[in-house]
Symmetry: D2
Subunit: 296 residues, 4 copies
């Protein structure tokens, strides 16, 4: 059989053609494919389903585990997740297609595999999938702004969705809810939530408002970040609360659900080593001052 006769087709693979620029930050962002149908079919809770968010975080944790040290941190909310590779990363020779397909595949596999652990009462009707893209950021400031952009987006979307679903759950048609919210500003939305639904937006769980940020704690970290993050071992209730708790008050909107710290604890327990998941403000300078090693 003439192997060599056909092998020339390998020359079309152009291995360098999708090599990403050295010494730059790489972000691989995944998005759920057709997740509005998927969440309908599986009756996920709106505007947020803690089980679904926990499953996303667990799947993200698997990416850290599979790709060794190549991933520095990750940020997710709703059905999207962004993985950050540092300038020094040499994963697959920085070939875009291998990087994006591997991360998407590891995440997808973990999502499907972990589904029964987070949705044991809801059988998976069909396998969900994600698409991915890779973006190159030349400077650390760009990366900071990227993460800020996603977290700002998470807030804006969540606030809108919280209003929208409160209106819909109260009996409005979706189109009427949309109309009611058109053009409203942040303050008006908070007022609407408070006056009509007795919801204090700022007391909603941080995981809803801030999304989830995964990273490895500095090894032997000493004081560094010790106040606000915890490894899966040696967690203390106090820090836990500050991380994933809705706050001091009653968390009205999740009252009928399990407490979010239960889910976050389950995710955290699935992580190895010093990987942690927090739900904090990553826009402000303060977080990065205490975690500057992530950007080195």
């Amino acid at each position: 059989m003439a192997k060599s006769r056909f092998e020339y087709v390998k020359t079309f693979e152009l291995p360098g053609a999708d090599a990403l620029l050295p010494d730059t930050w790489l972000v691989v962002r995944l998005d759920g494919r057709a997740f509005s149908r998927f969440t309908d079919v599986h009756a996920l809770r709106k505007p947020n389903d803690l089980r679904g968010l926990a499953l996303m975080n667990a799947a993200a944790g698997r990416v850290f585990e599979e790709l060794g040290g190549a991933v520095v941190c990750a940020y997710g909310h709703s059905d999207e997740y962004s993985f950050v590779l540092p300038p020094r990363a040499d994963l697959y020779g920085r070939r875009a297609s291998k990087i994006v397909s591997s991360i998407t595949s590891v995440f997808t596999a973990a999502y499907v595999w972990n589904w029964p652990r987070y949705f044991d009462e809801v059988p998976l009707q069909y396998p969900p999938s994600f698409d991915g893209r890779v973006v190159v950021y030349p400077q650390t400031q760009h990366l900071r702004h990227y993460l800020s952009w996603r977290q700002a987006d998470a807030h804006i979307n969540n606030q809108y969705n919280t209003c929208f679903w409160a209106l819909v759950h109260s009996g409005l048609e979706p189109s009427d809810a949309q109309r009611a919210l058109r053009g409203t500003q942040t303050a008006q939305k908070n007022e609407l939530l408070f006056s009509r639904f007795d919801i204090n937006y700022n007391r909603l769980p941080q995981i809803f408002r801030k999304g989830s940020f995964l990273f490895r704690q500095a090894s032997g970290g000493g004081a560094k970040g010790a106040e606000d993050t915890i490894s899966s071992k040696g967690r203390t209730p106090g820090t836990e609360t500050s991380r994933s708790d809705p706050g001091t008050g009653t968390c009205e909107i999740v009252a009928h659900e399990e407490h979010c710290s239960d889910w976050c604890g389950k995710v955290q327990a699935s992580f190895r080593k010093n990987l942690v998941c927090i739900h904090q403000d990553i826009i402000a300078e303060s977080f990065w001052q205490s975690h500057s090693y992530l950007l080195d």
Copy 2:
């Protein structure tokens, strides 16, 4: 919250940067990541495990289903699968990263989700994953040669592996088996299989020797390909045999396993519409003469 302040980072996404040349054949090839470890941990049969091949084929079928008409045909063997998109395909505006990540994700999700259906007695220990790449072929002849290359490779690898594992199962150390096979030609390998292990290589199941080719039968197909392919409905035992059976003789190497047509039938039953999976020679002109519509 200053959304606009950060949103400029979107300009780094360069949407056109990975657009693939119009009017060319696209091939997305997936490869199992670290599958030698994966097959060890899950004790897959060597050199071939019908359950594993059937699962790969079922996962490939899911790609056809999820991506609508974008995929024309697919070829797989061992832990790799190639999906062919025609020159007219406009999936995701032909953006490489979206195409490769989506197909990898759909395949991965289906593989994990279908695992218990094909390996019900073997619990999945951890989620397996795949990487992908996309290759552009300007002419139909290149695509034909690509598929020929993969099938020629499947044959060469399978013949080697059949010898290697026969030697190892007979008691040789892997390194001794490697040494025994070094430099041997096709005829010598067949002779070794026949004289020492009473295996007639050409009677091994076609799925092992030829791999699997998925495609949609021409609708209203009439005579076209009627002899050698069958839709999931209206299958007849005769054609089935010609497709996945080892031939007229005894299939020694799979004697201890389930019959391969059982597995192929299970895969076929999971397919919708007119999607079929065959195990034939796709290098020869004859196959393409009766399936020329696939290349139009």
Copy 3:
């Protein structure tokens, strides 16, 4: 001096990053940069200046000479020129930036160097320049259509410009001439030229209406193309006429200029070997039937 300390910056060159797909047609198209100012400053004749077209063709001929066999044919009109590299071309390992910069540079150098030979009475006021791009065409049919597109464009632009400048030369303001031509069709433009200016558009020099096509005649070509092309040696007046002459009638618009065959002859004389420049229809099938070797 620590050479090695800095040399790492070479790793940013990513040599494979702009490699063009193998086995495809490559077209490098050059366009004059700010040529409307350039033609004004140097008082080129409008709508066409034979000296300028001849100089463009001479510069194009230099590209054939400098790049060896890498260029198969070229087509130019106005201030643009397209060079065609065949699928087998391996110039600079098919690196886009090297190909496009070299061809642009060779053309530019030849344009400036040859200027006094074609514009001896017009001193070059400043050095003109061109920009280039490279386009990949997977199939021969695409290339044929590309050349047809440029020639169709040449015709449309030339017809419009011939009307526009006839009106302006007759005393209209440019803005009034534009208004007069808005929305007119081919037949109306020809009628306008004939009735108002006594110009039979179809008797204008072919070089204006068809542009210029450069290629190498088949070596030892025998009958092939013998009727319509001529090498620089052994030209005969008859074929010359059929190539660059306006036709049998009087060429009103160039009456005040030198005859176009003088200029074409000068260009042709500057060519080596069997390179020829013709001004024919390259859209129709007939040309390619007698020059099919160009597309092999």
Copy 4:
């Protein structure tokens, strides 16, 4: 004429496909094509020809003029020139092929056009050409290292060439000169020049040893850089000397030629505005401290 029928071929141009990453330094480096033949044919002086270097610098100045503010600085030596575009540059939407072809074309045109001004006694035998490439540097430090790399290279090459041509001019065959220099270090080369040819390498003209660096002086520059650079107006002999003079001693190797400051003055006079050309160390921190605005 069916314009639209062919116009679809424009879709193959993929305008975004070669867009360069925003907010990064771009370097376009030109190299003379086949310049060893070109310098032979035109009998340029070896190892350096002041007329040739001056012509290169004049051509580089034209690039600054034609491309407006897009070019921040440039560095050249021998037959190569690198142009630096800042992170904010939006020239041609940062499309690689347009950027590299335009700069190469402008440079080439200026080189050919200016030839008689610098080589009036040497007619140009044929038009020389250059090729170009574009490299992306994500951080300012990379750009600094790129420029350092080129200047270090200039020194190494010049020192070798000075020795090589001194030996050849003294009667050695080129191959013997090569052999004599094989494996020699910097100190040995300087010793050879001094002991055998009475040449003090460090007294050779700075333009030979350091190459040429072009940049615009800060407008309204006040003290900034006032000591070491001069605009074309208001030049003073003292600063001139420090710029292009071989130093305080006699410049043996150029004794038979025109003085290098004559050539540099001619180049400088061809520049508009505040563009200057210097021959200093751009590796050391000190230069950049007084010209930090170039890197902002």
